[in-house]
């Protein structure tokens, strides 16, 4: 597979504060990578480093096999970026802004742009200062998607969008994926990441704490089990991998790490009225990962 983006020990320090430490990350062609982390984890710093807006204290990043520090213009010709903070020129109209960004980028699929304007229900004739935050965000999204770049770098792109437009955005990313475009998606919308991303990278306090597919990550977390009985629930304490056993009346909840076989047998022997088990959502994974990371830090 072709590697589109690769960082090697990418580090950014501001004095004594390390915003990003030794980031090693690879993104393959056609992949959608979700980049997660709480506020201040270093997500936007990573993106600004990749774009060459700020310079690394050490380490390097390569995009399309080119050095992100030295070959910025050549790299930017092949990617498009949506920033988290929309800061467009208030005196321009939406149409003028789209024209400006397309002219400077040098590539635009005008038909697709017109289509996106319709799909996002965007009125391009207003001045930027008159748009709501969501509509300003649409300008950046339309400009980036209409450039049909090989790589889309999106920093919290759906902030301010209503649920309908969030769905339009998801459809667009699915289309980009079909067209073998690569997407680097930094987001707080875990549902969105879960729906769109092939792999997820999780960042905390400037360090990459986990990276993998959702399936791989789910192995790191426990399966939730819930069962109801007509009598006192069985005692699951002592079974390997079981934790958080909680009994309330005839209702049992617990978490199981690793194989669920022993738990299934114990519950089946007690003849449950209902039994329910599910994999953790990304949100639960995210919280579990942070809980562990925070414990490790403590």
């Amino acid at each position: 597979m072709e590697t589109i983006l690769q960082t090697s020990k990418l580090t950014k320090r501001y004095g004594k504060f390390t915003a990003l430490a030794d980031l090693d990350l690879t993104v393959q062609k056609g992949e959608v990578l979700g980049y997660l982390g709480p506020n201040g984890a270093g997500k936007s710093t990573t993106i600004r480093l990749l774009l060459g807006l700020i310079h690394p204290s050490s380490g390097s990043a390569q995009i399309f096999g080119l050095d992100s520090k030295k070959d910025k213009a050549a790299i930017h010709r092949r990617l498009a970026y949506v920033p988290s903070d929309v800061s467009l020129w208030p005196s321009l109209t939406g149409a003028e802004t789209l024209h400006l960004l397309a002219s400077i980028h040098g590539t635009v699929d005008e038909k697709y742009q017109a289509q996106l304007i319709k799909r996002f229900e965007f009125d391009p004739n207003k001045k930027v200062r008159a748009y709501s935050k969501g509509n300003k965000q649409k300008i950046n999204l339309i400009a980036a998607l209409a450039a049909r770049p090989e790589l889309l770098i999106l920093d919290e792109p759906t902030t301010g969008l209503d649920p309908l437009n969030q769905q339009v955005f998801r459809d667009c990313i699915e289309e980009a994926k079909t067209n073998e475009q690569t997407v680097f998606l930094s987001s707080h919308m875990l549902e969105e990441v879960e729906a769109l991303c092939d792999r997820v990278a999780v960042l905390q306090a400037g360090k990459l704490i986990e990276v993998g597919t959702l399936t791989e990550l789910r192995h790191l977390s426990a399966v939730k089990v819930e069962a109801t009985f007509s009598h006192q629930p069985p005692d699951l304490h002592g079974i390997t991998g079981v934790s958080g056993v909680h009994i309330k009346g005839n209702h049992l909840t617990c978490q199981v790490q690793g194989s669920i076989d022993s738990v299934l047998k114990a519950v089946a022997e007690a003849q449950p009225l209902t039994f329910f088990s599910r994999e953790p959502s990304l949100e639960e994974l995210f919280l579990a990962l942070y809980g562990e990371a925070e414990k490790a830090t403590a």
Partner: protein
């Protein structure tokens, strides 16, 4: 039991926050203005003492100055100008008042429309206040900063005035301090109104600057034409003359200032209560047809963003040149017969044998250089604002290099300077020729370009600071020009170390057409400027973008 509410610590109320924020944001500017005013005023007093040590010499000089009404365009009302106190007020108060008024306008629009534009006002209005109340508090904060300026100015003037050489009494120092800050207070009141009328801070400044400059011109007309002296009664720049600080003081004119301030603030409060947050009284269409002609290249886009201010500076520069060239013949006639004025003007302009009329046009070129320095600073500041507000992130995420962006901006500024200089020179030639003053068009157009030397030096200096420490660029650039003015002022009347004199940008401004430019010096200053610009561009290439 302790409730959540009880645990909440009560800090300041919203009105107090608004007032303190306004005060804190402009107090430094207020103190700098006060220091600038005191330096400019007192220097004139000491200059008179040094240049004209005897009463007879001062008398002769005063007779010459007052014999030519056209000089009134530049200076104030000649009252007791043979005394250092009278002379320093005559020579500097009007200029200081104009600078103060412009500063006041910039400061109030920053606090009112600027904060509203940046979304901070919305946050403040979500507190326990109303739009009207918030406006009053913000203005109060600004006026407090101005009161601080008054205290600094007056204290220093009292100190300087107590010297036996200057001889300005305590009471007159208090009045002079008031004359320094009151035009700024008036401009703040005007700016409070224009901040309601305009949708952007830039527009609010333009809307406010137009009446202020018009009021200053009215004062100039009143000074030149004795039949129009009544015009002084309708302009704040005339009221400071009416205060008669050094003779038969009329402090009641302060009440006129205060009345205007109260009326303007009251009107601004009415307007703010009438409009929605984020909107303006003068409605601008939020829907427009796209105009894409200047959006195809980054430098064209820079032109689109700055064309309004460049046009403003162009009109200002041409107006000053037309005014100075228009008065050149009268000035030449009046001053030609006076040895003392000829001597004074020669001191300012250097040792030249050209006629006083041409020297007067040359003085206009010096003022043009000052205007163009302001153009360099404001347009480079606009570039810095692009970065500070995050707009540059959008551009540099495209296939556009930093070097191309910054050099495009710099070339645009340099080209604008050249065009304005040439248009001003053409205006000077036309106006002078109409009066029968012979100036060769080709020579004037060619020699005027020597102004580019110091201007490119300032531009290069600005780019160097921008590349290294963008946040302090504007302050250092204004500081450089302020320093140059100071050195020029002192060196025109007293001998100074040559190296120190060479640090002034005005040292490299030739009094074209009265004097021939030193092309070697022009070339050297331009090369130093370009060199500094290149170093600044390289530094910019290697540094991180810094937003606000």
């Amino acid at each position: 039991m302790t409730t959540a509410t009880a645990q909440t610590k009560r800090l300041l109320n919203t009105d107090q926050v608004i007032m303190r924020t306004a005060f804190r944001r402009i107090r430094r500017g207020a103190v700098i203005f006060a220091l600038y005013a005191v330096i400019m005023i007192t220097l004139q007093g000491f200059t008179l003492i040094k240049t004209y040590p005897t009463e007879a010499a001062r008398q002769q000089f005063a007779t010459t100055l007052t014999s030519d009404p056209s000089i009134g365009v530049l200076y104030g009302e000649p009252l007791k100008i043979t005394t250092p106190a009278g002379y320093m007020i005559y020579r500097s108060l009007d200029g200081v008042a104009l600078i103060g008024a412009l500063w006041g306008l910039f400061a109030i629009t920053k606090i009112l429309r600027g904060q509203e534009e940046d979304g901070q006002w919305e946050l403040l209005l979500s507190g326990d206040t109303t739009a009207r109340q918030a406006l009053y508090r913000a203005i109060q904060g600004c006026l407090l900063a101005l009161a601080l300026a008054y205290v600094v100015t007056t204290a220093l003037l009292v100190f300087a005035g107590s010297s036996s050489q200057i001889g300005l009494s305590f009471g007159r120092s208090l009045l002079l301090g008031a004359a320094v800050v009151l035009p700024a207070a008036c401009a703040m009141a005007v700016g409070a109104i224009t901040s309601q009328l305009a949708i952007t801070r830039r527009q609010a400044i333009v809307y406010g600057a137009i009446p202020l400059v018009a009021l200053f011109i009215l004062r100039s007309i009143a000074n030149v034409d004795r039949n129009a002296a009544w015009l002084k009664n309708i302009t704040p720049f005339g009221w400071i003359d009416r205060l008669h600080i050094v003779a038969n003081a009329q402090p009641l004119w302060i009440l006129v200032f205060l009345a205007v301030i109260v009326v303007c603030v009251w009107w601004a409060a009415r307007l703010t209560a009438k409009r929605d947050l984020g909107a303006s009284i003068i409605a601008r269409p939020s829907i427009a047809k796209p105009h894409t002609r200047l959006l195809n290249r980054s430098w064209r886009f820079s032109l689109r963003l700055t064309r309004g201010s460049i046009l403003g500076w162009l009109l200002g520069g041409v107006f000053i040149i037309a005014l100075m060239a228009g008065l050149a013949k009268t000035a030449g006639k009046a001053a030609g017969s006076s040895h003392s004025l000829t001597k004074a003007l020669h001191t300012i302009a250097g040792n030249t044998e050209q006629s006083i009329s041409l020297l007067f046009v040359g003085y206009g070129m010096l003022l043009l250089a000052l205007i163009l320095m302001a153009l360099v600073i404001t347009t480079l500041q606009a570039a810095r604002n692009e970065e500070a507000r995050g707009h540059l992130d959008e551009l540099l995420a495209q296939p556009l290099t930093r070097v191309r962006w910054l050099t495009g901006r710099a070339l645009l500024i340099a080209l604008s300077l050249a065009v304005i200089i040439e248009l001003a020179a053409l205006t000077a030639w036309y106006t002078a020729t109409q009066q029968g003053i012979h100036v060769g068009l080709g020579t004037l157009l060619g020699n005027s370009l020597s102004l580019l030397g110091p201007l490119l030096l300032l531009l290069g200096f600005g780019m160097l600071v921008y590349g290294l420490r963008p946040r302090i660029m504007t302050t250092l650039m204004y500081g450089f020009v302020g320093w140059s003015l100071l050195i020029d002022l002192i060196s025109s009347s007293a001998s100074m170390n040559k190296v120190v004199v060479a640090t002034s940008l005005f040292h490299y401004v030739a009094f074209v057409p009265a004097a021939k430019p030193d092309w070697t010096t022009t070339l050297i200053t331009a090369i130093i400027g370009i060199g500094a610009g290149i170093v600044g561009t390289i530094a910019f290439h290697y540094r991180d973008l810094e937003s606000e």
